[in-house]
Symmetry: C2
Amino acid sequence: MKKQASNIVKAGLVQQALVDNDKQSNWQHSALKIEALVEQGAELVLLQELHSTLYFCQQENAENFDLAETIPGPATDFFAALAKRLNIVLVTSLFEKRAAGLYHNTAVVFDRDLGMVGKYRKMHIPDDPGFYEKFYFTPGDLGFTPIKTSVGMLGVLVCWDQWYPEAARLMAMAGADILLYPTAIGWDKADDQAEQKRQRDAWQLIQRSHAVANSLPVMVANRCGFESSPLDPEDGIVFWGLSFIAGPQGEILAEATKDEETSLLAELDLKRSEQVKRMWPYFRDRRIDAYADLIKRWRS
Amino acid sequence: MKKQASNIVKAGLVQQALVDNDKQSNWQHSALKIEALVEQGAELVLLQELHSTLYFCQQENAENFDLAETIPGPATDFFAALAKRLNIVLVTSLFEKRAAGLYHNTAVVFDRDLGMVGKYRKMHIPDDPGFYEKFYFTPGDLGFTPIKTSVGMLGVLVCWDQWYPEAARLMAMAGADILLYPTAIGWDKADDQAEQKRQRDAWQLIQRSHAVANSLPVMVANRCGFESSPLDPEDGIVFWGLSFIAGPQGEILAEATKDEETSLLAELDLKRSEQVKRMWPYFRDRRIDAYADLIKRWRS
């Protein structure tokens, strides 16, 4: 069943709206969408961040730790079996219970009949009103390490990581062939339309910029739909969808709508990354003699 | 004549087409455009890369070292006097002769009646067909240090630096209020239109991404017009213009056309950078404990 890495990877992603915390039902729903992509030829599929449940970080509530699960556990069992049955590489996201009182926001990768081949624990953890992630997730301790799969080395990062060029760069320097971002980002309903547009555009362009800076394709799967706040049903987050797949010059290859469940599929030519790097060889010229302060908090 | 830094900076830039190496005439032409911006209120003006002459790096020709000049020298005398007369902060670019056989691609900043207040020597030097810069320019040795002026701390970088998130980050971490890129980039006439669009889009988005990643406004002044190659008059570079000014979320505030001399003016509200940083505080969460490999050449 194992397949040699080829130059062309048929890559898909699933953008979903969640309505409840029924994991079994949500997994089945994802599985149907994944199967549909596989019927179109997908051999790599990316799911959005924390796709098993509603985005529970809208409040700090200790009961939500019940939503976490171990690795291995029911979620990894389900998706390992699915990846094996469909003979694909599958990138999933889950709320990992590592120990009582110790949780992570973790992406898990399955490779055909090999089962789980690696995981990435979200390194940069956000915390702002409606996104209280620092309450739930301990920052990752696995570093920025791509995961080797039969379709190539996957530089899997998660949501808030997307704002950090450092993270993408370190994945690229460790040999990543593709950068992948499961995310869950949306608007505060109080923001006006101009502010919403600036946020959405900034979000898309920072991730396309990682493609450009590293001459690598980028896949971003975002959540869509409205999820009301448990603190105030009138309030909540409008997840802005707009999942996309970009090539190694940041060019958009496929893009979802902002409010509908959408599956995307694109052919990623991994050989083109090297062609782009030959033309604009950024890695040749990095001034590593002058970058020491990047590991400082601030230069003062 | 000195003015205290205020929150609003009226910032302008000049995009020019060059037709010869007559420096006096080219400086006068720039001066007229700068004066027009000042009449509209500009207190900060950015010129494009190597604005005194044609882009001489289309070939490796030792005679072109005659185009270089010392700092101080005729160019810095001219622009220091202009900045003083117009009472502005002026960011210029020149081919610096530091010693016989030692040259840099250098941006020089003048501040009202203070004269030259700082310079930046291009740190990342490109070299590809038609852009033979490694022949001419020794990589900079002044590091990524913003220049203090009466309108704020200027993070001046030059052209090829624009592809490196590291450079922008280091300027931001050293307190830059605005990132500024004098550039000279264009197409090889042999590239097809789709490739031209990908290159131009990548160039704009990587620079807008530095605004996003660092919550700082960005100014980019690019050359426009066709300059034929001294090696083959049929060949040459179509400089693609499209100079722009972006706010701290990467939003475009002003943008030039691709082929006409254009001057841009925008109001930069430096206070808004802090508002953006309060909302999306990327610097709070950098994983400096996990960034050590950024100063490696490659992670293997």
